[in-house]
Symmetry: D2
């Protein structure tokens, strides 16, 4: 069942917001697929993204999972809302070993203020795809422009 | 109370392992202070680390908190152990707004296999320092070289 | 530094709300101390609270940590707000072995909508007190009576 | 795909361990279904399990989710292993309102030492079933009897 959009321009606005994120270009993360409540991101391996065993750093995978989940939440928000991450939790099931990585973010429940979203990260190593991490997050819709300026969930 | 080192070379080995992490140079994260069970990292603001509101992306702050906590855990491990992150949780209390950021990682309990560690991230904006994020993690000591090769907590 | 109360009756209201919780009497959890942004709860050991190794079940300790953190958040909220737990995370450092347990809940950051709170659980075994668990939570202030009726963070 | 049992007596041993948990009888939680890597528990509403709005307390639902996930992990462990919860995270999507509750615990990845498991809690209110909570956990296999005695993940 595909959720309804509250904001007809949400998918276009989501891509524009994604493109304003300097860190995505820095890490080489791109948008692979967008739908209502669903965002899939792609990340190719690069040696300058690794931890000390030569695998992609858990923090890089998490950055991509956070973006996938956060923008999935954004697609279901009102036209006047922006999205902020209040908290997240990640479990690492296997090392980020592979040539490309795929992060699938999905909304579990979308509310006016809070959205619960999840993400899963997969590594493609040769022709084998492995689930390497799971992620859950609480995303917050921020509406007031002044608050948005401060962008601080805890003062909202 | 400062914990004892099981491995007298732990602090030196920790810095060498830190320097093998490609992602730390990519993001500009450096070691500010190291002690038994304590690692403090520093990160200057850069526009190419930001999310779409112009603040440093939560994933970048998390990457630094994970490294601070993980290497703090590493300092208290045996000489033959390497450290892997099994899971972490982060709360974001305020936007990562500032010129420099400081991540303080500390060990809460160090065991033979599992270590519980925490980190806090602070933003220095002008002369004001603000707590912007909290972080807890379960770190795993990996000993067998073959297992280390696979670096997979869930198969250990 | 003791935080200010927004609601002068908050501490009294907190105790009344605590007493309306059927589960607290069932488990034998009582209020030991209350202050602005701080709640300490006590729990004596009982065999009917145990898991299969004879220690108090992690879920019972978590129930008490959630109450300590949630009511600590409640003490700093507006007079018209009620508190709901949006999410929490717990780490278990040692088994819940002892004759009495003490849960200390504290507010890290109190906002209009979201409050970040933490708790720690200690076991008193003979004369030795041990940190057995840590806990972080996102608490939500619910204001609208209709919403309060539904008590659903994700629809607010 | 149903995972293989390493221990042919795992399902029988799981039920015996469940029955040794005093807290399950106290809260009225029973086993509805058991399979390799899967445990479903049931909980009827009782007024003495409630928080101050009259819903079942989040800690009670969490106790049941922890047991569902932990015993699901146990079913896939070796014959000489016992299970301990190292950490968990729960999100609450809707109030625990209903006449009966169902907790479904499943193993995501089972390793020699660590198992990643998840649970979901559903409320049955009249004829409507609602997802009310999600849960992820790191479970630890404990083998050495002496360690088992101490039952302390962080000293293993």
């Amino acid at each position: 069942m595909m959720p309804d959009l509250r904001n007809p321009d949400a998918l276009t606005q989501m891509r524009a917001a994604f493109d304003r994120q300097g860190i995505m270009a820095t890490l080489g993360i791109t948008v692979a697929e967008v739908g209502p409540g669903l965002v899939i991101l792609a990340l190719p391996f690069r040696p300058d993204l690794t931890q000390h065993h030569g695998f992609v750093h858990a923090g890089v995978i998490t950055t991509a999972m956070d973006s996938a989940a956060g923008f999935a939440a954004f697609t279901l928000m009102d036209a006047d809302a922006e999205v902020l991450t209040a908290e997240f939790k990640a479990n690492f099931l296997a090392p980020a070993r592979g040539q490309t990585f795929r992060m699938v973010g999905e909304v579990i429940k979308s509310g006016r203020t809070l959205t619960f979203a999840e993400a899963r990260a997969y590594a493609m190593d040769g022709t084998t795809e492995t689930l390497i991490a799971t992620f859950t997050a609480t995303m917050m819709a921020v509406r007031d422009p002044g608050l948005r300026e401060r962008s601080n969930p805890a003062t909202l």
